[in-house]
Structure formats: C-alpha cells, structure tokens
C-alpha cells in the first residue's frame, strides 16, 4: 500500500514539475532572449514579470478555439494531444534522483527514442489535417527532417550504451560515477544534441514552422488551447531533451555536496538556457542544407563514433 502511494506521489510530482517548468519556460525564454538582445523582456506583471506566465495561460485558455470547416476534424483535434502525451510519457523513464523515477525500465533509452518518434506523428498529422498548403508543407518538411535526424539520434547514443553496458537509464547514470560520458563520448554528445534540436524542431532547426516562409507551418490553422498544446509540447520537448542529455552525458544526479535532485535540476536548467541561447544566436538553415548536413555529415560521423567506441572498448576489454 505504501509502495503504491509513493509511486503515485512520484507520478504526480513529475507531472506537476514538468508542466510547471513548461509554463515557466514561456517567461524564461522571453527574458533570456531579451537579455541576449540588449532588451529587458517582460518585467511588468508581478515580481520580475513572473506573473506573465499566468497572464499568458489565462489568455490562451480564453481564446476562441476554432476548427476550420475544411479541416479533417477528428485528426485535427487529436494531433496536438499526441505530442503532449508522447513527451510526457518520455518523462516516465528519466531518473531524477536515486529512487525518484516513475518507471525504471530496462529498455528506458529505447522507450525514450520510441516516444520521440511518436511525437513526429503529431506534427505530420496536424499538417495533413489542417488541409492548408502551408500547413501541409510544414508537415512534409517535418516528416523529412525528423525521420532523417531520427536515424543517427539513436546511433549517436549507442556509444553511451556500449560504455554503460545497459539500456536502463539509472545504470547509465551510475556508470558515469568516475567520468561523465560527455568527455569520452564528446562526438556522441554533439551529434545527439543536434539531432535532438531537430527532433524538438526548435530554432534554429524549426523548418516545420519557419514563420518567414510558411506562416506558421503545421500549426498555422490552430488557435486557442490547441495551439497552446503544441506550444507546451515544444517546451516539454526541450525540457525532456535537456534532462536526457544530462542523464546520458553529464552524470545525471551525480555531483558533490548538494542533494542529487538539485544537481539534476541545475544541470537541466543550464542546458535549457543553452537551447535558448542557440535560438538567440543562430539563423535557420535552408531545407536542402539541413538534409545534406544530416545525411552527409552527421550520419557518417555517428557511424565513425560507433565504430571507434566499439573498437576501443574491445581493445581495452
């Protein structure tokens, strides 16, 4: 009985923290972007503009939720829910601290990769169901982008798996007790980072939405909370991605003095800020450049990384 209550508490806690972080990121992103563009950002509502989050949430909940008559209604409604469900499910396998994990699966890493693939459906279906040429173009691009970056996203992590000898995320964290994997697996980290950026279609790799050319891409026809779901899905996406990078490459909860959960949250926060810094600094590549970069550079590099890691591990024993 006690066990059940404890797991329910963990599930509720993870859900609560994840959704609150996603909402808080609205404010954090705007403040940080302003910081790097010599501005101040939202600082009027509440202390440091923190209540801006509340104002944004109220606004998005009370907006008209309009389904265009030409859209494929059931798919149109389901699409935004898919991304939220997929991303929230990937939170289930992330070990925040020893014992604080919803489901410590022995195939945790594969589960995460599967869920991030499921998230692609949301974008593609939204683009298709909107029945709008810009949305369709956005959906099309995202299908190509996400599928091609998925290939080496998995491959780049195999080095980590080989070194840890397990797909279980808590084992991977424990294996980094001596040395964080970001040093021996630096190439894997860079490749996974870029692939993750493409998977969460954040700027600079936000080709599916590309405001300048595709209006808003796949969510051009969405409004109100349905649009909000994509928005929250994107923020949850970077949160889960940062948490994964911390788990796989930066030693998860490991760290001196401070309690493990604090270390984990601190590292995740720094990575999220880095994602926002990338948004502030880099321009969006052209579509064909993105494809060429993925297939001609990243894929061979991740294969090399895989082969070298395997060879070294075999040689060392």
């Amino acid at each position: 009985m006690n066990q059940v209550v404890q797991s329910l508490l963990i599930v509720g806690g993870v859900l609560f923290v994840a959704l609150n972080i996603a909402a808080g990121l609205i404010w954090l992103e705007r403040r940080l972007l302003a910081l790097w563009q010599d501005r101040l950002g939202p600082n009027r509502v509440g202390p440091f503009g923190l209540l801006q989050v509340l104002a944004d949430v109220i606004k998005i909940f009370t907006k008209e939720d309009w389904v265009p008559p030409f859209a494929d209604r059931p798919v149109f409604v389901i699409a935004p829910a898919v991304i939220i469900v997929a991303v929230l499910l990937s939170f289930a396998v992330i070990p925040f601290a020893p014992g604080i994990v919803v489901a410590d699966l022995n195939v945790g890493l594969l589960f995460f990769l599967a869920m991030s693939s499921l998230g692609v459906y949301s974008v593609v279906l939204a683009g298709w169901a909107s029945n709008n040429k810009y949305a369709l173009l956005g959906g099309l691009r995202s299908a190509a982008q996400l599928l091609s970056y998925e290939v080496f996203m998995g491959l780049s992590l195999m080095g980590v798996v080989m070194m840890a000898g397990s797909f279980r995320l808590s084992d991977i964290v424990e294996a980094q007790r001596g040395l964080w994997f970001c040093i021996p697996q630096f190439l894997g980290l860079v490749i996974f980072f870029i692939a993750g950026l493409a998977e969460s279609h954040r700027l600079p790799l936000d080709l599916p939405e590309a405001e300048a050319e595709l209006v808003a891409g796949y969510h051009a026809e969405y409004s109100g909370m349905k649009f909000g779901m994509f928005f929250v899905g994107e923020y949850l996406g970077i949160t889960v991605l940062s948490a994964m990078i911390v788990t796989l490459f930066f030693g998860g909860w490991l760290g001196p003095i401070l309690p493990p959960i604090v270390w984990f949250l601190l590292k995740t926060f720094v990575l999220i800020c880095f994602f926002i810094l990338l948004r502030a600094s880099l321009p969006r590549p052209r579509y064909d450049q993105l494809m060429a970069f993925g297939w001609k550079r990243m894929l061979p590099l991740s294969l090399v990384n895989l082969a070298v890691t395997g060879g070294v591990l075999l040689a060392v024993g």
């Binding site: 790097w36 563009q37 101040l40 810094l277 990338l278 600094s281 880099l282």
Partner: protein, 171 residues
Amino acid sequence: MLSVLDTIWTVFLHMFRKRETVQYPEEKPYLPPRYRGRIILSRDPDGEERCVACYLCAAACPVDCISLQATETEDGRRYPEFFRINFSRCIFCGFCEEACPTYAIQLTPDFEMGDYQRQNLVYEKEDLLISGPGKYPDYNFYRVAGLAIRGKGKGEGENEMPPVDVYDLVP
C-alpha cells in the same frame, strides 16, 4: 563551424551590455524640440493671439482635421471665432505649421494624448491656445506686416517705408 561557435559566444556576451530599453512611463524618452507632437496655438510677445484666421492650415491639412471660422475685432485684427482640431484624424505631418504665415500654429514635443473617448480628442481653441510665443519668442506679425490696424497705419511697421503715392510719379 568555428564561426557558429563564435556567433554563440558573441551573443552570450551581449548579456553584459547596456540595455537599450527605455522603461517608458517611469523613464521618458528624449524628444527633440522640433518633434512633431500635440499642436498648439501660440501668442505674440504682447500676449495677443497670433492666428489671423487665414485658413491656410486648414487648406494644407491632408486629412482635413482643422476647422475654423474667421472674424475681426473693431481694431481691424483678424482672429478665429472658433478653432478646432480633431486629433483623432490628425496625422502630425506638420504641414499646418509650414503653411502658417504668422507662426501661430506649432507642433510640440508631446505625444501623451491618449483617451478613452473620441469626442475628447476634439480640441477647441481654449485647449489649443498657450500663453507664450512657442518656438519664435520675438515674432509679432502685425509689427512687421504692412497691414493697417488701429494704432498702426500703413508703412509704420518695422523695416517698412512709408507708402508711395503712385500718382505723384505721373509726368
């Protein structure tokens, strides 16, 4: 690749730069003296209205937001009976100021005229008239113009010659 890292680093360093934002209601922006804001009607150094109700401003106004009616005092000075500017139409182009022959109508560095009711944006003469001469402190139209009013005949203005009787020149 290196240039990408350089870009990221440069943007990161912008964190420590001075902010460009002017926090408006608390901190006012600098407006130059010739800024084109709220329109006023000025008075000459003697405290009389400068406006001679010539209608040139109303004619120059591209959005027809100025409306006035000319009348005359017993002295022979023209002045507007009413002078009305509808600021909900005004585009602050400054053409009225350029058209004005007596420097009466002037634009000022003030833009804080927001209101909740359109009717409140229609300014009457009392709202437009100020007590001073505005941007041209020493200018007095009637002192330099050749027009005869009570207390000043023809040719008695500044830099003016007495009028010539052209029939004197007939041979």
